[in-house]
């Protein structure tokens, strides 16, 4: 009978994962003999493909000079630098045994996240852009703590849900702690305000709890409460409500609150079935707001049409399916790995669908970026780091 998670993991590694990299005594097979499953290869390919495609699209969307102060290469250079950093980080995280996050990093990650989420409000460290305090930074280096917080929360939740001594359905053992910590994170995000990320965080935790076998009535109550809270927040201020729900009828006010949705729609409609061709989007000429970041999907759909748009949706769906397949495969041997995979996968795919849904006018616009494709700095690096962790889990899953 194994009594500690760590010992159990070691045993699992040895018994069920002969190809796994084993540290530190090197008794296991060497790295060079490691074989990657098709699952791993597909995930790797999707990650590479999406991030490189994102680089191309950032160049296309920003090259009109309408953004970046007239320098057509500004955003490309920036994205290329961050992407380079992202590849390095992803390579490293894909080589670190994912179990080390649980063993060494849960507390530091959570601590750092809380500190940074609070730091955004501290003048001199936090950076306020257009009324939102979402960044910390010094000089030209900026960092969005919510990205790190998502990852930290997922690792922490995966750890909590996979502790054998705790019952997932037990309110005191699992549900309350999970709910409490999530509420703290969400509250800090809501104050920034970053409603989109707050909703995303709650969503990720709910999916993880559901996958872990959480009681349906618990899930129902949490979902209803979160929905009610979001509703109250949205309706509390009429200007926020108008902006949030402008997507449902953008034509009611196409030049003010409906502007972004209408312009994105114009750009997407212009793409037709096969698109206007790479580089030829009209929307990026100052019409679609944030064409290189939040609304880059509109440019994708305009330049590559329905085919390109569905391809991108399909790629995220594939990441989701493959990620859950990884969770399914590793669940028997390591629930922590399964929940971590579910968390990371849900994060990427839910964020992608929330973003795309907003761009195509079926969800409110909340400022959530499209993973891999949107121009971004620290968020891209953190997303890729998380994806590296997912890859590492995949390398441990049965081929």
């Amino acid at each position: 009978m194994l009594s500690t998670p760590r010992q159990r993991h070691r045993a699992a590694s040895r018994s069920n994962h002969p190809t796994a990299r084993v540290k530190p005594d090197g008794r296991g097979p060497q790295r060079r003999r490691r074989q990657y499953s098709p699952l791993y290869a597909l995930l790797l390919l999707l990650g590479f493909g999406m991030s490189l495609y994102g680089l191309v699209m950032v160049l296309s969307a920003s090259s009109s000079g309408a953004l970046g102060g007239g320098d057509p290469w500004h955003w490309f250079r920036r994205q290329a630098l961050w992407l380079g950093a992202g590849f390095v980080v992803a390579f490293i995280t894909s080589r670190i045994d994912y179990r080390l996050w649980r063993e060494r990093a849960v507390a530091p990650l959570m601590g750092l996240s809380i500190v940074l989420l609070v730091a955004v409000f501290i003048p001199g460290i936090g950076i306020n852009v257009l009324g939102s305090s979402r960044w910390v930074g010094w000089g030209s280096f900026t960092f969005q703590p919510s990205e790190l917080a998502k990852f930290a929360l997922i690792v922490w939740a995966a750890d909590l849900l996979s502790r054998p001594q705790r019952s997932v359905t037990d309110l005191h053992q699992t549900v309350y702690p999970l709910l409490g910590v999530t509420c703290v994170f969400s509250a800090l995000l809501l104050v920034e305000p970053d409603l989109g990320t707050a909703v995303l965080v709650v969503g990720i935790i709910l999916v993880m709890l559901y996958a872990a076998g959480g009681a349906l009535h618990h899930l129902g109550i949490i979902t209803a409460s979160a929905g009610a809270a979001a509703g109250i927040l949205a309706y509390a201020a009429s200007y926020r409500r108008r902006r949030l729900f402008a997507f449902s009828d953008p034509w009611a006010d196409p030049i003010d609150v409906g502007y972004q949705t209408v312009q994105a729609g114009v750009s997407i409609a212009n793409g037709g079935i096969t698109g206007v061709g790479l580089g030829a989007a009209r929307g990026k000429w100052g019409y679609v707001p944030l064409a290189h970041s939040d609304f880059i999907f509109a440019i994708v759909a305009e330049e590559f049409g329905l085919v390109g748009g569905i391809a991108v949706v399909g790629c995220f769906l594939a990441i989701g399916m493959l990620g859950y397949l990884v969770a399914h495969r590793i669940r028997q041997s390591d629930p922590f790995g399964a929940f971590l995979a579910i968390g990371i996968t849900s994060w990427i795919v839910m964020q992608a669908f929330i973003n795309i849904g907003a761009v195509i006018g079926v969800l409110p616009i909340t400022g959530v970026t499209l993973p891999f494709l949107s121009a971004g700095g620290s968020s891209l690096v953190v997303t890729m780091a998380a994806y590296g962790v997912l890859l590492n889990i995949a390398s441990h899953a049965d081929g």
């Binding site: 309408a66 076998g213 209408v262 114009v266 997407i268 409609a269 000429w285 759909a301 748009g309 195509i360």
Partner: protein
């Protein structure tokens, strides 16, 4: 404390063992549904219902610019440019970009020659565009741009330019405004042909207003306007205007008109209109009096009275009658120009002496209806000929409206009004052996591609018999050989013509009496060479003074001078015997003499041009012509 075996994955109180696997399946299914929903939404926007978005996008992106068509030129019969369009700088301002309207206005005022207050208003009004100076000289534009004022710019726009100066042939050419729209003369009459078809530039604009380089770009080139080719001979026109100005100046007249026509074709070779301006200087008129002026022709209409006599068979050229120097009809006494004893005159004698009494006697024989018909057939008082802007048509009342004195009055060219061109065309009809060839001012239009489209012309029509025309020509020849028109004759050619010294009606008091006595319209109309007429000319001097008031003195000499010039321009050889000796004289002229003549002529032209330019500077704004079109109804 629940301990769970590793294979069971420690998921605690799941309701069924298969639940975790099923839940992952459910999550995957939800994901698939979400992806399907998003895809369906894309299908709707991009394939099923894109129209509203596409229309919105096009309305905000597509812009079109009108590409103005180059305005056609106006050319003389040999292709010499009389009016054309050249690019000239226009100064404009974007008031929103002007930093200090007052200071900017003060800096610009001396350069543009516009008041500071006016400029300040233009520079500070709520607009993005103000004209400050349109089509200014290059030097002015350069001076403005040198000031380096914020918000003040220039661009080039087509501006009308006449190589011959602003006054040369202005009554024919007319003017076009700053936007290249014809407002008078040929510029107005043929505006649609000259204007061409504007092109269009359609492009997609970025939100900032810049052109999207990858966007749609559709350029429909403008089709330049056609050039109008006039029947005018620039050389002859120039000389005609020059001599007419001199003659009107010399005779103290108010207006002067000369029309020179190739009678065989109806083409008007020269059409000069000059007027005395407010300062007493005679200059080319902006109004085309030869077309817009209804005037009483007087004695030059007498040949048409005889035409009606001969055509009606009421008399012949060698039928003599008694002619007194006065007669009373109803309440009115008619007299000849000067007293004479009772004469026994043929129509030839009557016309040579321009006897009113003799003409009236013959008119009485044919009666009102015949006279009316003949004058109408000649086109007198029968409406505009060319369709020129503001062209008048003369007035010849129906015989129903004639009074007892109408017949004798009209028979001698009073009580009827005509435009100078109508009179010219009537004489050309005699010159053509009785066939009216419609007058023509425009040969046709030359398209931008070089193709020439001739102007439509009316078919010639016979007005009087060849015999009557020959009789009239013989009578008119006698006028120049030994009658009132001797000053119109030139050596080497036989000229047929008639003087006219019409009484000028007083529009204020009615009748023909003016405060200072009578006023006259002196004219001479004729053609040459008489045996084979080539050129028909009409000279009209309005209101000459002193002893220059008769057609024989005011108009005939200019007729002679211009007919000589016209014949040389047209290279028409002399035909009569005296002509041969004259020609021999010309041949025997030494080279030096010819050179001297040419030099004198060149000097005269240079002096004329200099004077023109001087006047242009002095009189930037043309004054209205002094002609009084109301003089028509006498």
């Amino acid at each position: 404390m629940t301990t769970v075996d590793i294979p069971r994955i420690g998921l605690g109180h799941a309701s069924a063992p298969a639940s975790p696997q099923r839940r992952l399946f459910v999550i995957g299914l939800v994901l698939l549904l979400a992806a399907s929903g998003l895809s369906f939404r894309l299908v709707r926007i991009q394939v099923m219902e894109p129209d509203r978005y596409l229309e919105w996008g096009e309305s905000q992106r597509l812009r079109s610019l009108t590409l103005p068509a180059e305005r056609g030129a106006i050319l003389d019969r040999h292709g010499v440019v009389l009016a054309t369009s050249i690019p000239r700088p226009t100064i404009w301002a974007d008031p929103s970009a002007v930093v200090d309207p007052r200071a900017t206005a003060q800096a610009l005022s001396p350069v543009l020659g516009v008041e500071v207050e006016r400029l300040e208003y233009l520079l500070s009004r709520d607009s993005r565009f103000s004209y400050l100076g349109r089509q200014v000289d290059d030097s002015v534009a350069a001076a403005v741009l040198d000031l380096g004022l914020a918000g003040v710019f220039s661009y080039e726009e087509p501006s009308r330019f006449s190589p011959g100066g602003d006054e040369f042939a202005r009554s024919i050419l007319g003017r076009s405004d700053l936007d290249s729209l014809g407002i008078s003369g040929v510029e107005l009459q043929y505006d649609s042909i000259l204007t061409g078809t504007p092109g269009e530039l359609v492009f997609e604009r970025a939100h900032s207003g810049a052109v999207i380089p990858t966007g749609e770009f559709d350029r429909t080139e403008a089709i330049p306007g056609s050039s109008i080719v006039l029947t005018i001979d620039q050389n002859l026109q120039f000389e005609t205007e020059r001599q007419l100005i001199d003659q009107v100046t010399a005779t103290g007249g108010q207006n002067g008109i000369v029309l020179i026509m190739n009678n065989a074709t109806g083409e008007i070779l020269a059409m000069a209109n000059v007027s005395r301006d407010a300062d007493g200087v005679v200059r080319p008129s902006s109004e085309n009096l030869s077309l817009t002026w209804n005037y009483e022709p007087g004695s030059i209409a007498k040949p048409f009275t005889f035409a009606s006599v001969f055509e009606a068979g009421a008399g012949t050229t060698d039928e003599f009658i008694n002619v007194a120097d006065s007669m009373v009809i109803w309440d009115k006494e008619f007299t000849d120009d000067h007293p004479h004893a009772l004469e026994y005159w043929s129509p030839v004698d009557i016309l040579r002496e321009s006897s009113n009494i003799g003409t009236i006697s013959w008119a009485n024989r044919v009666g009102a209806d015949t006279l009316y018909d003949t004058l109408s057939d000649f086109g007198i008082g029968q409406g505009p000929i060319l369709g020129f802007p503001n062209e008048a048509g003369g007035v010849l009342h129906d015989t129903d409206d004639w009074s007892g004195t109408s017949l004798p009055t009209i028979a001698i060219g009073q009580g009827v009004s005509t435009t100078p061109l109508q009179m010219l065309q009537a004489y050309a009809t005699i010159a053509n052996g009785g066939i009216r060839v419609p007058a023509q001012l425009v040969l046709g239009a030359t398209g931008a591609d070089g193709t020439f489209n001739p102007a439509p012309v009316e078919d010639p029509a016979r007005v009087i018999s060849e015999g009557t025309a020959a009789d009239l020509t013989r009578m008119l020849t006698a006028v120049v050989e030994g009658g009132t028109g001797t000053r119109a004759g030139i050596p080497g050619y036989t000229t047929a013509g008639k003087t006219g010294t019409a009484w000028k009606p007083n529009p204020v008091d009615g009748g023909y009496e003016w405060a200072d006595g009578r006023r006259y319209v002196a004219s001479f109309a004729g053609f040459l060479p008489a045996d084979d007429p080539q050129v028909t000319i009409l000279v009209v001097i309005d209101d000459p003074v002193g002893n220059q008031e008769t057609g024989g003195r005011a108009a005939a000499p200019l007729f002679g001078s211009l007919s000589r010039y016209a014949l040389s321009v047209l290279s028409i050889p002399p035909t009569s015997r005296t002509a041969e000796s004259e020609q021999a004289d010309v041949r025997s002229k030494s080279l030096d003499e010819i050179e001297a003549e040419r030099a004198a002529k060149a000097a005269a032209e240079a002096a004329y041009i200099a004077r023109q330019e001087e006047r242009q500077e002095e009189h930037q704004d043309e004054s209205a012509p002094d002609a009084d079109p109301a003089a028509a109804d006498g």
